[in-house]
Point group: C2
Chain length 417, copies 2
Amino acid sequence: MKLIKTPTKGMNDYLPAEVELREYVKSVIIAEYSAAGFRRIETPAVEHIENLTGKNGGENEKLIFKIMKRGEKLAEAGANDAELCDSGLRYDLTVPLSRYYANNSAKLPAPFLAMQIGNVWRADRPQKGRFRQFTQCDIDILGDATHTAEITLISATAGVLRKLGFDNFTVRINDRRLLKLSAEMCGFAPEDHDKVFIILDKMDKIGLDGVKDELIEEGFNAESVEKYIALYEGVETVTAENFAAGIGEQAQKVAAEIRSIMECAAAATVGGCKLRFDPTLVRGMSYYTGTIFEIQMDGYGYSVGGGGRYDEMLGKFTGQNIPACGFSLGFERIVGALEDSGFKVPAPHKSIAFFVEKDIDNESMQKMLSDANNLRAQGERVLVTTKMKNVFFQKTRLEEDGYTEFAVYGNHTVKTI
Amino acid sequence: MKLIKTPTKGMNDYLPAEVELREYVKSVIIAEYSAAGFRRIETPAVEHIENLTGKNGGENEKLIFKIMKRGEKLAEAGANDAELCDSGLRYDLTVPLSRYYANNSAKLPAPFLAMQIGNVWRADRPQKGRFRQFTQCDIDILGDATHTAEITLISATAGVLRKLGFDNFTVRINDRRLLKLSAEMCGFAPEDHDKVFIILDKMDKIGLDGVKDELIEEGFNAESVEKYIALYEGVETVTAENFAAGIGEQAQKVAAEIRSIMECAAAATVGGCKLRFDPTLVRGMSYYTGTIFEIQMDGYGYSVGGGGRYDEMLGKFTGQNIPACGFSLGFERIVGALEDSGFKVPAPHKSIAFFVEKDIDNESMQKMLSDANNLRAQGERVLVTTKMKNVFFQKTRLEEDGYTEFAVYGNHTVKTI
């Protein structure tokens, strides 16, 4: 039986040049985050199914790749779907981080600045720019309730984008508490808030009128809806403090915090960083408790990163709430934007190829290998490869990969070509 | 409900210092292999179940983490175990590489020198040094039928170990054809060869007498067994050519090839490399067709790497055989040996921590952030973190992580501590 050549649905094979670009981006991310004191951790790709379905993953919990229990003929024994599965592939790095911190916090400094670069899996419908296996680059600060966390996360992440040559991005910022206070003021019941926010989140797609229609359709009180819609009129350029003015004292306190975060994060980003208060920013995950943010890149319809404060999630593992705040970069989206910009990874080496005749004798072979090592010791890349029938085709193909010098080694002969 | 803190069975959380050591080892591997012209590729962690169970994984096929089909209540609908599963986690990098090459060879040079660093998963019984998620570092040369492939693979891999500071290792080498020719000469039927080799493979554990007993127990012809055992007497120091002398002309041809590979690989390894012909080396996977090798490190009971030639595997994907040869390093075993040797990753930066008072004003905060950036621009690592109640405990903990300078930032005050 012939085997299947293509990768599994929605997942990718990466060619060498693609891997090299991905690794270049990773190296910039790691260098920037390391300089700010973030340290890498690693968790397994496989997580307990209980942790993955603990209501911390929102919609992503529907997209889990579930792993079957091993060793028994379970289905034949009449097990149901839930009994068949004991683990799954992680769909994000936040749930594993929370578990990790609960498991290892005694060995870590407090506050702890964590960096994670790892694959996650979601059985989403594949589409352009959305894959079933993709890489997330997360930084999180655990154990810090102050805004130093938000400022560090935003400026470090904006710093990565700057270092990669991007200047066409804006960090949108809002606060879950502000969302709640405005919904509350308009008379929406707390249990309806998430439903209201999901509709508000569509504003950039359906406009304010669309939001109004959907809220009415959903059966919410007309007066509440009117009041709510009035709040979000003309907010494209509103400041946090002006927006909060009509909501109350608590909201104004939150707004002052947002302003302070924005000022400091902009000042702390090398090369600068555009930030915009956006009262319609929601973020999908209901575990956020405070500041939320998202990076918009001009010309792209999706965000390239996002995050926020989630002060109550770690308590689900530890029994004790620990303040936490994180920022996640969509790695493939950054790599894609870099590709779109025509960026090429700088070739660091001089690259030389030695073509070896098939009948080369042992002595000439060893001489050639020694030549190769001498050049490598000088920092050059030296490919030793068998000379094929059409060596000029071989040479042309290697020129595409950055090779500039070529020699053919035979029995006691060397010929540059 | 409290969630589960520990990682899934047999898998690991890695602490920052552990990740840093792992990343250091990876960087050495990548630098060495890249200098020899190997290029990185990436395949998904998830593979088609058909490819994983295509008899290329040997015993590993029993250890697959199987992934359930998505979207339907399959077990409830009465599906059996096979129908429930459409994919699984890869248990090695060789099967995915073969699929990858079949899928992408038109875009790759020929011969192609591939480098892969990636996680694999096996539902093995966890034990010391054996994990259910672990990292493999593979290099493979596809499309080269000559020994340039073997020589390049062995010298590059030995070069990695040398670069990491190891000199206590030996590459054992043998050839599947030699194994087959000796079994054939003793009268074992071809269909029994694998069974005979599995027993021979235990020689270092049960000795030659043990091998003899097991072969007899298995019911093999006594005369064949006698002849076979005689062949392997006193082979600890035998040369390939002396071993082959009693087997026949074909074996002598293979032995000459082994000698040539050994001479050239030793010469081609910077710092040198011990190689030993070992006619009892078998390697588990039945897909090997020629040279096989394994790295033994003094003081360790397991090999730290191994590989060989598998000229017929790619044909299962492409319908056409393509010569192939690979070498796989057991990453965790190398990292473990390095830890045992007391190795510490060199701290590249001067590391400074700024402790920020919780009530710091905006202006002082911005001044502090600017100070941090100026130091980072000079290549220093600067951690900005909130000052906790017990700042001296905080300082002591950070000293363990390599921080040597500390300052407390308050409102218009800076104090080194």
